[in-house]
Amino acid sequence: MAILEVKNVGKRFGGLQALGDVNLNVEENSCHAIIGPNGAGKSTLLNCLVGKLIPDTGSVMFDGQSVLGRKPYEINQMGISRVFQTPEIFGDLTVMENMMIPCFAKRDGSFRMHALESIAHEKDIVGKAEHMLEEMKLIDKRDMHSASMSRGDKRRLEIAMCLAQEPRLLLLDEPTAGMARADTNNTIDLLKQIKEERDITIAIIEHDMHVVFSLAERITVLAQGTPLVEDTPDNIKGHPKVREAYLGETQAA
């Protein structure tokens, strides 16, 4: 069953047709990659899924419900978590505080006025956050300022924060962009582990083919705002249209 159904989505910015007519189904508990050259509309598509942009045409259904017109926090509460290209964490807070916030959001919803209770007394939240940090091997950085961590650790924390909300769909926007090879491999291993251990659907936008081919079960190739092909990684590798889109090769060459 498809957990995410994108139907005929189009988005125009002034004279630029960023998304033409996108149809995309992401199967539950699969890992679906969206690739494409720069300017293909990958990020626009992602922003349409999380409520940052509203598409001009078409529909986006998550688990049978439309996400269009909902605010980002509402869509998140429906079960979609997003990891950003540059890790978005709470840089002024400690790692532990970062970790507690999604735990509160999961338990209490989008707003709760608990102004006179002490965090120290929230045993279940503290326990859950510590458990997550342990699982993500960040527990030794518990009281560190999150802004002073390495890029790889920030990414790890951001993913941990998303997972703490127990999302059904995890969206990753170029999770290894700007990372060193070792950090990239660590992230791949982490994502593989997440996929194995949890009931979670992953949709990933990525430039790095190494990452895509080691994770994805389905791949959609996007070019100039429209999906070119959708297939398994093996079939995508040798597909002439993909080579054309990426390398500018013509059929004749």
Binding site: F90, I101, A115, Q165
Partner: protein, 411 residues
């Protein structure tokens, strides 16, 4: 203690002791001595210390935690004063209903202004709050509402005052000897003082001051609880990264609105107390300079710290009242030991910085603090503390290392 962690309880106890012993601590110089003019232990000024302390604590909840810089907070202070004076005019001279009304009035207005202003952030939010405050100042100053209703509401530039023919349904309109009754707490008058003479010192204990001090301590306690609560954590998260907040399923609007209202209610409380000490309310309390002052207090003391705003408020009010009193005669007496020419020169040099020029000194100090101590006076204190601790560390470095390692486990 009281649901606070050890560290916070210690801070609270220190503040409580300082506030309650203020009549002694702020009067270090014997009465009549040359230094006596630096004494700040008289009721009027001490009341101002704690009242502006409350104002700054509330402002810091908004600005220090969420980073939203309101430039119109004095409006809530002024509203609180008007509310309290109206209660004195209509109900009774007891300060409890007056203060309750001032908090409610300020809270209602904060809800409306916050709801509109919080649609924007950063500089636009500041400008919106400033615009609202100036509008309210103009309305109060011209008594626009009063002119519509037909009876004075804010009484324009004269300010709202008590009169002998006020109804005061639960109290008396006038005392038997024909004067306006005094503000009181169940019969105990705010003005009542108890003087204690010890040697050359004269200590004045004012009931009004102690009422203000207790209210300040309660406000401080609530502020600590808010700082350490999940709500406080969310507010700091708003300051740190709103994008991540939204994509973590959290709606930032109700959080910022809630703290804006709380902060406005603190300002209303301060305004109500101010009117309780001296029952009149004027529009100048709502002017933008008054809003700027609380921003200065908070930044000077240390925005986002617990004790900073109180320190900043005390610091600025001390300057305003003590430095402003130093005139040329005082300066001449200070430099009297110097040869005549030199004495005059020194007086000329120092003159622009004292008396009416106290703003200049304050401005310089503010610049120095912002440039060298971005964390305010609190950071200065911490640096000095660290300096001492480092000296200790050298002696017992092994122990402190162990203590350092133990700390995360203990917390």
């Amino acid at each position: 203690m009281f649901g606070l962690k050890k560290h916070d309880s210690r801070l609270f106890i220190v503040v409580a002791v300082l506030a309650l012993a203020a009549p002694f601590l702020l009067n270090p110089f014997p009465d009549g001595s040359a230094m006596a003019q630096f004494n700040a232990g008289y009721p009027d000024l001490m009341q101002r210390f704690v009242i502006f302390g409350i104002f700054a604590i509330g402002f810091n909840l908004l600005f220090g935690l969420t980073g939203y810089l309101s430039f119109g907070h004095a409006a809530f202070l002024g509203l609180g004063s008007y509310g309290a004076v109206w209660m004195f005019k209509l109900l009774s001279m007891n300060i409890i209903p007056a203060i309750i009304l001032s908090v409610i009035v300020a809270g209602v207005f904060a809800l409306i202004i916050g709801y509109i202003s919080l649609r924007r952030s950063g500089i636009y939010f500041s400008i919106l709050t400033l615009a609202f405050a100036q509008m309210m100042f103009a309305i109060a100053y011209s008594d626009l509402i009063g002119r519509f209703v037909g009876t004075p509401i804010t009484n324009g530039e004269t300010g709202l005052q008590l009169a002998l023919d006020d109804p005061r349904v639960l109290g008396i309109s006038a005392t038997p000897d024909g004067s306006i009754p005094l503000t009181n707490l169940f019969g105990l008058e705010m003005r009542s003082v108890f003087n204690l003479e010890v040697g050359g010192w004269l200590f004045t204990f004012s009931f009004g001051y102690y009422v203000c001090a207790v209210v300040m301590l309660l406000s401080f306690y609530v502020a600590i609880r808010i700082f350490r609560s999940p709500f406080g954590l969310m507010l700091r998260a708003v300051k740190s990264n709103q994008q991540r907040m939204n994509y973590t399923g959290l709606n930032t609007r109700p959080y910022t609105l809630a703290v804006f209202v709380i902060s406005g209610m603190y300002a209303g409380l301060a305004g109500g107390l101010m009117a309780s000490m001296d029952p009149l309310a004027g529009a100048e309390r709502m002017q933008w300079t008054a809003s700027g002052e609380v921003v200065l207090m908070t930044i000077l003391g240390g925005a986002g710290t617990l004790i900073g705003p109180v320190l900043g408020a005390g610091f600025i009010k001390y300057f305003e009242n003590i430095f402003a009193k130093i005139n040329d005669n005082v300066l001449h007496s200070w430099f009297a030991f110097m040869p005549d020419g030199l004495e005059d020169l020194m007086v000329t040099i120092v003159h622009p910085f004292v008396g009416k020029g106290w703003h200049l000194t304050l401005g310089i100090m503010f610049m120095l603090v912002v440039i060298f101590l971005p964390g305010g006076l609190v950071e200065g204190g911490q640096r000095i503390g660290r300096l001492f601790r480092r000296r200790d560390d050298k002696a017992t470095s092994v122990e402190s290392d162990a203590a350092e390692q133990r700390k995360p486990a203990a917390e």
